[in-house]
């Protein structure tokens, strides 16, 4: 009986270790992507870092209840989106507190040029385009922005976006369409 209890304890310990190792792998694999999404959503490095840490802390606490119905990435992204929503809601509620944010302005955000633009003209043009897209993204609603960033920065499929945001695929398509129209308008297109 005692030997059985000891074996059970060892089995539990081994299972816990395995779960911890699995979670560590998930963190290592998905942390940069979660951070990138939060950075592009907030344009604030410190806030993105803080929310990323909170996201993985929350994920760690609930790791036992993760049943693998969606991918770990989708599950983590859902947590990140909710954290971000909570953050902005709290900021709106705490309007008496300082309204200063550390979000970088569009010029600074557009300074990160995609590699491979050889000539000065191409670099300037690329920077201008990036700035225009940032400007359009800034004008989007919170939901449209989330959907747009998940689609065009994180390159997620519509069903993944729907699972992460809790929206239907049709709604995701509608938000995405409006967001793209806004970007097109900002770029000077007619449609």
């Amino acid at each position: 009986m005692a030997a059985g209890t000891a074996l059970d304890a060892m089995a539990i310990t081994t299972a816990d270790d395995a779960a911890a190792q699995e979670f560590a792998r998930v963190v290592e694999r998905h942390r940069p992507q979660i951070f990138r999404f939060l950075l592009s959503s907030t344009r604030d490095m410190d806030l993105a870092e803080t929310l990323t840490q909170e996201c993985f802390l929350k994920a760690h606490r609930n790791w036992g209840s993760f049943r693998g119905e969606s991918s770990a990435m989708t599950w983590l992204m859902r947590i990140a989106i909710n954290l971000q929503k909570d953050h902005w809601r709290n900021r709106r509620m705490q309007f008496w507190r300082t309204t200063r944010t550390n979000s970088v302005d569009l010029d600074e955000a557009s300074e990160w040029l995609p590699s491979g633009e050889s000539s000065i003209e191409q670099q300037l043009l690329a920077r201008e385009r990036v700035k225009q897209v940032w400007s359009a993204v800034k004008g989007l609603s919170e939901r449209q922005r989330t959907v747009f960033l998940l689609r065009y920065v994180e390159e997620q499929e519509l069903r993944e976006i729907a699972a992460a945001t809790g929206l239907s695929e049709g709604t995701v398509k509608a938000h995405l369409s409006r967001a793209v129209a806004r970007v097109r308008l900002e770029l000077g297109g007619k449609r």
Partner: protein, 148 residues
């Protein structure tokens, strides 16, 4: 006419294609830019300790200033109250001294008036009963007239 329509449609399609191409390129650049920024931000050395220290200092400084303000306000209030009480005590002492002084003056005045009255009464009685010898004949004549 049909040829003209075809050419117009072709131009429109090419313009739409060019727009789509530009949008596609802009989105591609945007994605690359965000990835580059995020990678750089992710790899940056964390200024966590410094930031935390700075925040701690700010917090401590804020608390210290707050405490100084509260202590200053409280001690200022207490000092003012003490000052008022002291002033009231001095004023009461002054009033009491003034009253005592007035009482003493009244008593002195009363004593003076009493002594004057006594002196005057003595003088009157002396003047009434004793006639100087130089006026004795005149007093005699007055007494004679009264008897007549």
């Amino acid at each position: 006419m049909k040829k003209f329509d075809d050419e117009a449609n072709g131009l429109k399609e090419r313009a739409v294609d060019a727009e789509d191409l530009e949008l596609e390129l802009a989105l591609k650049n945007f994605k690359s830019s965000v990835h580059a920024w995020s990678d750089a931000a992710y790899r940056r050395p964390r200024a966590f300790t410094k930031e935390v220290r700075l925040r701690s200092w700010r917090l401590a400084l804020g608390w210290a200033l707050g405490c100084v303000l509260v202590a200053g306000s409280v001690s200022g209030g207490l000092l003012q109250r003490h000052h008022r009480v002291e002033q009231a005590r001095i004023a009461a002492q002054q009033r009491a001294a003034e009253q005592r002084k007035q009482v003493r003056e009244q008593q002195a005045r009363a004593q003076v008036s009493d002594s004057d009255e006594v002196l005057l009464a003595g003088v009157d009685s002396d003047v009434a009963r004793q006639v100087p010898s130089a006026l004795e004949p005149l007093a005699q004549m007055m007494a004679d007239d009264e008897t007549k």
